[in-house]
């Protein structure tokens, strides 16, 4: 025990030293506007504070680790049945949420936002969690989906329901074309190149004025209708209003609730797809490839095509989510598709435990829902975000719920 305590103290001291070295140029000096012009002033108390906080923090973390060491790094695998029940309970709750007394329009709106990220997380999970391809440019396909819908609907006057599958297909097509050169690379390179691709798509959107409207984006995007029934106060000519058809009083809430159910359905579709495909040979090959590429080769699997299929499938779901985003906002611009978005989606997948469907829901609630709630504390959002990530990674290095259920039991084997 004595040895451990010493190691802890050394670690804390080292941490403090590094913090001091970094803080010295960043916090320790500043320009002072004196009588004789600008001069360089010191702020060394700040440096000491920074070093002290870091050293104390490391000490605390180390001590926590020592006391928690006996308990193991991750939760024991919850039984399969429990996961299923929790899943169904969550679905049931999501279904009645808009009709609960405390759920106002604002809450449904926020829940819609969380669900977008749940869907994106589930989509990216196919690529990162199942196939093990670290994709840092996922937002590119989200953007392709959004712009596909906006452009198809504005140029050809196609309805949302027609554009949705088209946008998914276009995004998947982009996934195939971009994935082909990328997926020959190995691990870390894939991450770097996909990150670059994501930025390239954004830059193209920003500069291709004639088509995408450049930085101004596209506005006045057609809102969805309920099987042809409009949610507008005054339905366009030749169509009827939703409220009128069902004999309700007009309310702007109808559209909000409809959008909520729409994204809920899309997200559940993504989940259902993932659960199904894991039992099929393609899905199994994705997982096997993540585990051991060499073994897969020696079983006659062509890694490139298997990776491409995962990449394109993930892209397709991002495309669906993108067109939903466009129809919900009514306005899109390249600003909505920055690297930050990719990072958040990836954080959701990693935090959720790489491959755990419910873990992703929890992570999306935590990373998207909570910050939305505390919007008043704007300036501290990123700080809290970073802090939460660090804490969770310390507490559960393999994600909130890192269990993998066998996709198949003997009774349902093919």
């Amino acid at each position: 025990m004595g040895g451990k305590a010493r190691a802890l103290a050394v670690d804390a001291a080292l941490g403090g030293l590094v913090a001091a070295a970094m803080a010295l140029p960043m916090l320790g000096v500043r320009l002072e506007d004196g009588a004789t012009g600008l001069s360089l002033g010191g702020r060394f108390d700040w440096v000491l504070w920074a070093a002290g906080i870091v050293a104390g923090g490391r000490l605390l973390i180390g001590a926590l680790r020592l006391t928690l060491a006996g308990r193991g790094p991750s939760l024991p695998a919850p039984p399969r049945a429990l996961i299923t029940y929790v899943g169904w309970a969550m679905v049931a709750f999501a279904l009645i949420l808009p009709f609960l007394p405390f759920a106002g329009r604002n809450m449904v709106d926020k829940a819609t936002l969380v669900l977008i990220y749940v869907m994106l997380g589930w989509g990216l999970n196919i690529v990162v969690g199942l196939a093990g391809l670290l994709d840092l440019g996922f937002v590119a396909f989200y953007a392709v989906g959004a712009y596909s819908y906006a452009l198809l609907s504005q140029t050809f006057g196609l309805s949302f329901w027609l554009c949705l599958p088209l946008a998914g297909m276009l995004a998947a097509g982009f996934g195939l074309v971009l994935g082909f050169p990328v997926l020959r690379l190995r691990g870390d390179y894939i991450a770097i190149v996909t990150m670059g691709l994501g930025e390239i798509i954004r830059v193209v959107l920003q500069n291709w004025q004639d088509v995408t409207g450049g930085p101004n984006g596209i506005s006045g995007i057609e809102r969805p209708s309920f099987f042809g029934l409009s949610f507008k106060m005054v339905p366009p000519e030749g169509s009827r209003g939703f409220a009128e058809f069902f004999g309700l009083d007009y309310s702007a809430d109808h559209r909000v609730i409809f959008l909520y159910f729409l994204i809920l359905a899309l997200a559940l579709l993504t989940n259902l797809f993932t659960l199904r495909i894991r039992r099929l040979p393609v899905g199994r090959a994705w997982e096997a490839l993540r585990e051991d590429e060499i073994a897969c080769r020696s079983l006659g699997i062509n890694p490139t095509t298997v990776k491409l299929s995962a990449f394109a499938t993930g892209a397709m779901f991002a495309g669906f989510a993108g067109s939903f985003f466009a129809t919900r906002q009514g306005f899109i611009s390249p600003e909505s598709f920055t690297f930050h978005e990719s990072a958040v989606i990836l954080a959701i997948v990693v935090l959720g435990g790489m491959g755990s469907q419910i873990g992703i829901v929890l992570a999306a609630l935590l990373l998207v829902g909570l910050p939305e709630w505390f919007r008043e504390l704007q300036q501290f959002r990123m700080l809290a975000f970073g802090g939460a990530m660090v804490l969770i990674m310390l507490w559960k290095p393999s994600g909130l719920l890192s269990t993998r259920e066998p996709a198949i039991r003997l009774k349902d084997a093919p």
């Binding site: 585990e291 051991d292 080769r297 079983l299 006659g300 066998p406 996709a407 198949i408 003997l410 084997a413």
Partner: protein
């Protein structure tokens, strides 16, 4: 069945195989023995197309497969149980076996599964256990079983005895003999455990520094003085 002619191969500028000639007839068990770093694993990997051969030919059932991509080679009745087993640790035993059948006709999956589980009853008891939690011997059984799921005509085995207790080694070699005898699968076995391998095999080759230096029937090689001295540690048993 499998003919290797003047095969050269290596990694980048390092050449590991300097012209290897080996042939394996249908229905045979052939063993290749050699010390660490002799190039045994490299030979099996080169047969499977990764790394590609820099010279020479690999002929499988009359067809030249030398330049083909791995996934094409592996669909031609050849199966490979790689060095270190390489099972999928987070997937269940059943899923591992399903991966082995990835390229096979799904219509005879049930039949193949039954056949493999018949050979390895230990796996049948552990169908839903994760591959990574199996014991070393069970993992080796799984690796061989997985390779058999594609109904190969020829099976390449890379050091199935690696890290296993003598009793388990004997068990596994008995099963390999059974696979060969009852199911007519040709076996090309690479081993450091020369004693067991040569006892099992009909014929054997000895590899030193990327070249074949000796060949003969299993019994001949076992009786050979030089081999006894170098590979059998004075003929233990």
């Amino acid at each position: 069945m499998l003919r290797i002619e003047g095969l050269q191969s290596g990694y980048g500028r390092i050449q590991a195989l300097h012209g290897v000639d080996i042939s394996v007839a249908e229905g045979e068990i052939v063993a290749l023995v050699g010390a660490n770093g002799a190039g045994k694993t490299t030979l099996l990997m080169t047969i499977c197309g990764n790394p590609r051969a820099s010279a020479g030919r690999v002929v499988l059932a009359g067809e030249d497969i030398t330049g083909l991509a791995t996934h094409h080679i592996m669909r031609r009745g050849l199966a490979h149980s790689p060095e270190g087993r390489r099972i999928f640790p987070r997937m269940s035993v059943l899923e591992n076996l399903q991966m082995g059948a990835a390229m096979a006709d799904p219509a005879h999956f049930a039949q193949d599964l039954e056949r493999v589980l018949g050979l390895f009853p230990r796996l049948a008891e552990r169908l839903h256990q994760r591959g990574g939690t199996l014991s070393g011997g069970e993992q080796q059984m799984l690796a061989i079983g997985r390779a058999l799921m594609s109904r190969p005509k020829i099976l390449l085995l890379d050091e199935p005895s690696l890290g296993l207790a003598p009793l388990v080694v004997r068990q596994i070699f008995e099963i390999v003999a059974e696979i060969n005898r009852e199911q007519g699968v040709t076996v090309f076995l690479v081993e450091q455990n020369a004693f067991h391998a040569l006892k099992l095999a009909h014929r054997g080759y000895v590899m030193v520094n990327g070249k074949v230096t000796m060949s003969g029937t299993g019994a001949e090689l076992l009786a050979n003085e030089e081999i006894r001295a170098h590979y059998l540690g004075g003929g233990h048993g």
